[in-house]
Amino acid sequence: MERVLFIIFAAAAVGSALNLIAQRNPMYSALSLIGTLASLSALYVTLHAQFVAAMQIIVYAGAIMVLFVFVIMLLNLQEDQPRIEKQQWLRYLAVPFAAALMAEALYVFRNVKDIRLPAGSDSDRAVGATWSIGTSLFTDYLLPFEVTSVLILMAIVGAIVLARREDG
């Protein structure tokens, strides 16, 4: 059962990802990425990480990707016109790179012991539920949390400064 689910969503994720790089229109690419994100969210649920799964949808799909789509619409680009290709060689470099990267990753993973996924719990306090995330975030991981908030602040200021028109 779980394997079936995994294969379905993994196929969806990989398919969307391949579509992402295959498409010339950025809007299709963005929508493909949303597909990948949704598939990953489903996979997170199978890993008993409900909260992260929900956040994946709310933050990634609901906010970040909307921003992307928004910008794509704002710039209203048409097809990615074929131009004079400046770095044709990169295209041929990418394939061996990808092969090597994949090979290395799989080589690393070959030793992974296939331990069992702990059984999920309906408890509100199970790992992956909201309570555990919140508790850890505001105790052990408080400093990263605060630093992240500062990062967000910097990003807000930076984005405003960058996107503001000179005359505005």
């Binding site: 809007m27 929508l31 949303i34 409900q50 909260f51 929900a54 956040m55 949808i57 709310i58 799909a61 609901g62 906010a63 909307v66 921003l67 789509v69 928004f70 794509i72 619409m73 704002l74 209203n76 309906d122 509100d124 539920a129 909201t130």
Partner: protein, 339 residues
Amino acid sequence: MTSLLLEWLVKIAVVFAVLITSVAYLSYMERRVAGWIQIRVGPNRVGPFGLLQPLADGLKFIFKEDIIPIKANKLLYLAAPAAAIVPALMTFIVIPYGSEIVLFGKQIALHVTRINVGLLYLLGLASLSVYGIVLAGWSSNNKYSLMGGLRASAQMISYELSLGMAIIGVLVLSGSLDLVNIAQSQSGYWFGFLPRWNIFLQPVGFIIFYIAALAETNRVPFDLPEAEAELVAGYFTEYSSMKFAMFFMSEYLNLITSCSLAVTLYFGGWNGPGVNSHPWLSLVYFLVKVFLLIFLFMWIRFTLPRFRYDQLMWLGWKFLLPLAIVNVVVTSTVLLLAS
């Protein structure tokens, strides 16, 4: 296992049927309310009191010509209505519309399913619902549509924040993201007569939630994405026939979901006098409360004028969001001091 699956399927079918019917009759209701408020008649020819009007409308939608603009991006043009209506339909499954009843000798909980992050599920789907509008606006290859889509996405992103922030107050009080838990936590009375509804603890939160919900559903006074005076019909200018109907339906579905959520979060859900002895009453209470809130929506629609775009942004970012944050801080502080 099988019976559980069966129970699910039955519940889903029933809820789906009820929702679709409600949507049809909400359009009827809206027109009647409009007529009543504006001192005119409204639909009254088809069937008694015009009650068959929605049926006629539905048939008309089906038989209208389905136009696809030649310059449109066909795939997305077709996908957009689906992207709008699917999340709208999916949201309702976590909303508890009654307590447990006994039917055919079987305990049946009156909610389709129960997720311990139910509220997040709702918010996630709500945030996805923007894609239908955005894609519709973009794929139509029409300036009005594009403007409508842009406005819609900006507006929904902006008000989603206030919405989420307003809900946090309730979350802090009930200590759960499970909507069934939230509804149950509001049973009983204070001082023997005052229902333990969150509206009494979170009045500010409710007002913010309600305003944000208005904006999220793109209803007047927040209907700028489809402002007919400026943008013809906004993102669905180019849509016709059943695809138009799907946008129409998704809007009413969102309306129902928002009001149901408001009832669950702030008005005690299905709770009311006599629920424990007569569980059927819980369903009645829930429907009545939702109906009243929907009526309020309509009342507002035919009472207030539309906002200007900058006013809308001002209200969302500079008034509602800070107010919601203050609400969260105050609630948490009081709770901390009280405990």
